[in-house]
């Protein structure tokens, strides 16, 4: 017996393209929570006494105030000053019984999966200023791992193949495997994933032998993990066109988006229109910003620009997908925690840094990471690159350097003639040896094999990714000392590895 029609049944997507066929069987079968349905109805009529929901009353929440001591932005280089301990501080506060951006009364109550409007609104504002999304909704998440894995359940059925970059963040792609989802890797070069290869995979796909043609692409377009590449604008346009041609959903996983290097922020725009606008005009164009079909699901996170323990982020998608995602959230992890929502509401609100202040902090963060990147590259050239055994591109964003090891110069490098899909070289074995040697010498880097996706297509002419795992992923997020010492060890060890 239906007590009241739900908004889900009444909503219509206002997009030209109907994307409902992308939903998994599980998502289609998901029923709305009847308790929440009645709860929503009880809210609509003013004066209704709701004795239906067992929610603890806010007078019993044992927190009346939270103070957060944060850096003051009242200086040209706030991150630098903060690191050195020279910074002034501000206190931003959330209250239960006094006015503030988001009352603890609200923050600590039960809510709906999408999160509180006070926080979603501010993040939608940020989205608008930076991406101008055509027609999308913001839902809060518990970070990108959470929202990404929820997307796997939202769109994936057992037997599906999803597309990804051939080197990718394997903890996430692994998460899809027990759901019966397989991965089809797309080749990459210095600019990231190669659109022509994506098109080729889709064109040559044989549904009779390989199952349903891939309908989802998972990409990390900025500071790709692990290769550190950033997709140039032209490629993004091509990829979007290919997605339209083949009806692909794009999962845009972008936690490093705000850590871009070499940005020249125009002071004039800052003064006239604020920091956010000024930054928006030099940041890369996201997939979201070109998403007229509603086929992009963009994942943003506070993990890299505030702290990983925030466990808070936001998902931007078309209204239809957003509702399905919220329904899954209501059936599992529930809405994000009150603390994080209160903190962000205050920090980004009028009593805190505001959006412009937050963007000023992130730009200052960029400058700090850029300093470390430059230090890394300088020391690398001096200690490692000089011998020619290893090379690295300068990353344009994020935290990763993809170091190539020129194994073909190694005395024990071997090539075999057979090309039946198995590796033709002993690259993997040599890299394993080098990894262990580095470990013994006191340095840990992650070998490329950890991130390599093998895929189902029988490789043409014996192309096997294990012949191309001659890379390490290095990061420059540690202290300056770690960077210098680490690279010295690297230089010494690799010289020994090649010469002795």
């Amino acid at each position: 017996m239906v007590y009241f029609a739900t908004s889900a049944e009444n909503s219509k997507t206002s997009y030209k393209v109907d994307l409902s066929h992308h939903l998994s069987r599980e998502t289609r079968a998901r029923q709305p929570n009847p308790i929440k349905t009645i709860w929503k109805i009880a809210q609509t009529k003013v004066g209704t006494i709701n004795m239906g929901n067992g929610d603890p009353h806010n007078t019993l929440y044992p927190i009346s105030k939270i103070d957060f001591v944060v850096p003051s932005l009242d200086q040209p280089n706030p991150v630098q000053a903060w690191k050195e301990g020279n910074s002034k501080t501000d206190i931003i506060s959330s209250y239960k019984d006094e006015s503030c951006a988001l009352s603890l009364k609200t923050a600590f109550a039960y809510g709906t999966g999408a999160g509180l409007q006070q926080v979603r609104g501010v993040l939608a504002d940020l989205n608008n200023r930076i991406h101008s999304p055509p027609n999308h909704t913001v839902s809060l998440s518990l970070g990108n791992a959470d929202s990404l894995t929820k997307c796997f359940r939202l769109f994936g059925d057992p037997g599906d193949s999803f597309l990804c970059e051939e080197f990718t963040f394997s903890p996430m792609t692994n998460a899809a495997l027990p759901l019966g989802i397989k991965w089809e890797p797309i080749k990459m070069d210095k600019g990231g994933l190669i659109p022509a290869d994506m098109d080729k995979i889709l064109t040559n796909w044989d549904e009779r032998t390989q199952g349903r043609r891939p309908h989802v692409l998972y990409t990390v377009p900025c500071s790709q993990n692990p290769t550190g590449s950033t997709l140039p604008f032209e490629r993004r346009k091509s990829i979007y066109e290919i997605a339209r041609k083949w009806d692909i959903i794009i999962l845009e996983d972008d936690p490093y988006y705000f850590l871009q290097y070499g940005l020249n922020v125009d002071q004039f725009i800052v003064e006239q229109h604020g920091f956010t606008r000024a930054l928006a005009s030099v940041l890369p164009r996201s997939f979201l910003s070109m998403d007229y079909d509603g086929r992009v699901v963009r994942l943003d996170s506070f993990s890299k620009i505030v702290a990983p323990g925030m466990r808070l982020g936001w998902v931007t998608a078309n209204n239809f997908f957003a509702e399905k995602l919220d329904s899954l959230t209501d059936s599992s992890s529930q809405h994000p925690h009150g603390f994080g929502q209160a903190f962000i509401a205050e920090l980004l609100g009028d009593g805190g840094w505001g959006l412009d202040g937050f963007m000023k902090w992130t730009k200052s963060l960029c400058d700090e990471y850029q300093r470390r990147r430059d230090l890394f590259m300088d020391v690398f050239r001096r200690e490692v690159g000089i011998n020619g055994f290893a090379t690295a591109e300068v990353p344009k964003s994020g935290m990763f350097v993809w170091i190539k090891i020129n194994l073909e110069h190694h005395a024990r490098y071997r090539v075999v003639k057979e090309s039946n899909g198995d590796p033709r070289t002993n690259t993997a074995a040599l890299m394993d040896e080098l990894f262990r040697t580095l470990l013994d010498s006191g340095l840990v880097l992650i070998p490329a094999s950890t991130f390599a996706i093998t895929g189902s297509l029988s490789p043409p002419s014996g192309d096997c990714i294990l012949d191309r795992v001659n890379y390490f992923r290095a990061t420059f997020v540690g202290t300056d000392e770690t960077i210098c010492d680490g690279l010295k060890i690297f230089g010494r060890t690799i010289e020994q590895f090649f010469c002795f």
Binding site: M1, H57, S64, A109, R311, S332, L439, V444, F476
Partner: protein, 517 residues
């Protein structure tokens, strides 16, 4: 990682209960790297492998939470009427804390931060002394329970639960092909003999025999029942006989009523010990096999927005839950872990203070329960149209309506139709009464929402009364203020009177109703 028992080996092998998904799930591939790093045993190793922001860049130096001081006789009352003293829990990035911001805000293990995991392991040990279990942090009970469903449930499985159950939880696994069997209840909650009967008569052609039992043993949602110690022992014995996993969902555990209150004592530690002893033993406390997954939450005793809880389970399930967490929502947020660790730590409330708060809370809820019952007796009971239970725990009352006294009530004998199709129009009357309540500006949850769909294959007795003939109840709550409770009961009484005394000029409707039966 800290566990409540130093042995990390499970008593018996329960791996056959795992779903394919749980079995297929791989651990984090980066873990192999970290394991080798630890094996290399080089404390000064240069770590250029982590993509974690350095703590010197976290934009906060200190967090302070203002909370009630619990050094008074009735802290909850004082807090509510604004007369309470307050104290602060502080956590610092660069100064000593029970759990520093520096440690709390980095990426960490799926089980949770060691300091918080230890604090909650100690808490669990204190209240339940589980034989051999490990603690995994969650984002609250919904998160914990739905993770457990995915860990144990295969498409086509049948899970067992109370015949009236909380759809927020039971709806979740329907979309991935798990079905529910509702087990009969009485005033004491789920009937153990009925669980056994279903298992004994299970026809293997229906699929795998049910291997999971999901219950809310204290302040059951929605009926408000609490399982006696005797029933718990019987249920555990049945679980051993039939190899069941028990999901013990216990968010109302600390809200048990009509217990003699523990008086404030000068001896440190005495208060909390006496408090713990007054509570009914949990299924976890008797779990010698490791077949209980106990789901605890701070939602009802601190606040729903905490989004923090924990699961106590055997070690195999603990590892599987950690791997699942690493592959999904990740460990809980730092804020909540910091708050709880400071709260239970030496500069916070400590265990004694926490127990004082909890006891004060339950006394407060008990007052409200009694207030509601008194208002019900005054405003509703005299009508003769409804009666109410006296819940021993939790937040809910179960109001039973005497629909058979209604002029439109219809009933027929079982004409040999399906054993589960209704023989009365109870459901229709329930629906109409719900609407009548709305007209009078009061909302209670109709029992139909909680009724588990019956399967004729599960019905053995010829005297079985279909559940849809027994949904003549509403779930109400006393979690609101006294003002809303009072008003609510008045409206309830009035609505009932109007509903039952409505004019009988509904003959055209009666034909429709008869046609439906």
């Amino acid at each position: 990682m800290p566990t409540v028992n130093p042995r990390n080996v499970d008593s018996i092998d329960l791996s056959h209960h795992l779903s394919t998904e749980a079995r297929d799930r791989l651990p984090n591939p980066m873990k192999d790297v970290w394991r080798m790093v630890q094996g290399a045993n080089k404390p000064d190793i240069a770590n250029m492998a982590n993509g974690d922001p350095h703590h010197s860049l976290y934009p906060f130096r200190k967090m302070s939470f203002e909370v009630p001081a619990v050094n008074q006789a009735d802290p909850v009352s004082s807090w509510r009427n604004g007369s309470s003293d307050t104290q602060f829990f502080h956590s610092y990035k660069d100064q000593p804390s029970a759990l520093s911001l520096r440690n709390a805000f980095q990426y960490t293990h799926g089980a949770g931060l060691p300091e918080c995991q230890k604090a909650l392991s100690d808490l669990t040990q204190f209240f339940h002394s589980p034989p051999n279990h490990a603690v995994t942090l969650t984002l609250g009970n919904s998160d914990g329970i739905t993770k457990v469903f995915r860990m144990l449930g295969e498409r086509g499985d049948h899970f067992l639960t109370d015949e009236f159950s909380f759809p927020g939880m039971t709806n979740a696994p329907l979309s991935y092909g798990i079905k529910w069997l509702g087990i009969k209840m009485d005033k004491g909650g789920i009937i153990p003999g009925e669980i056994e009967r279903v298992l004994q008569h299970w026809d293997p052609r229906r699929g795998r025999r049910p291997h999971v039992l999901y219950i809310v043993p204290v302040g059951q949602n929605p009926t408000g029942t609490t399982l006696s110690l005797q029933r718990r022992k019987e249920i555990y014995a049945i679980a051993r006989r039939w190899d069941l996993i028990i999901i013990e969902d216990d968010p109302y555990y600390f809200l048990q009523y009509d217990l003699p209150p523990v008086t404030a004592s000068a001896e440190k530690g005495e208060f909390s010990e006496k408090f713990a002893q007054s509570l009914i033993p949990s299924l976890l406390s008797m779990d010698v096999d490791g077949r209980v997954l106990r789901i605890d939450s701070f939602s009802k005793i601190l606040a729903p927005g905490m989004r923090l809880g924990w699961i106590s389970s055997n070690h195999l399930f603990h590892h599987k839950l950690v791997t699942y967490t690493d592959s999904g929502p990740q460990h809980p947020h730092a804020f909540g872990q910091v708050f709880v660790t400071e709260m239970l730590g030496k500069n916070g409330w400590q265990m004694d203070g926490f127990c004082r708060w909890i006891q004060s809370l339950r006394v407060d809820y008990q007052r409200r329960r009694d207030f509601l019952l008194e208002a019900f007796r005054r405003e509703v009971e005299p009508t003769g149209y409804a009666s109410i239970n006296v819940p021993e725990a939790g937040m809910f009352v179960w109001v039973t309506v005497n629909f058979d006294r209604h002029p439109r009530y219809r009933s027929r004998s079982n004409r040999g139709g399906s054993s589960v199709s209704p023989r009365t129009n109870t459901e229709l009357l329930l629906h109409d009464l719900f609407k009548k309540f709305m007209d009078f500006d009061v909302v209670l949850m109709p029992s139909a929402i909680f009724a588990m769909e019956e399967d004729p294959l599960s019905v053995v007795s010829p005297h079985h009364i279909p559940i849809r003939d027994r949904i003549n109840s509403f779930r109400g709550t006393f979690a609101g203020t006294e003002e809303t409770i009072e008003k609510g009961m008045i409206r309830l009484g009035r609505a009932l009177r109007e509903f039952f005394e409505e004019a009988a000029d509904t003959s055209h409707l009666e034909h429709k109703i008869m046609a439906h039966l």
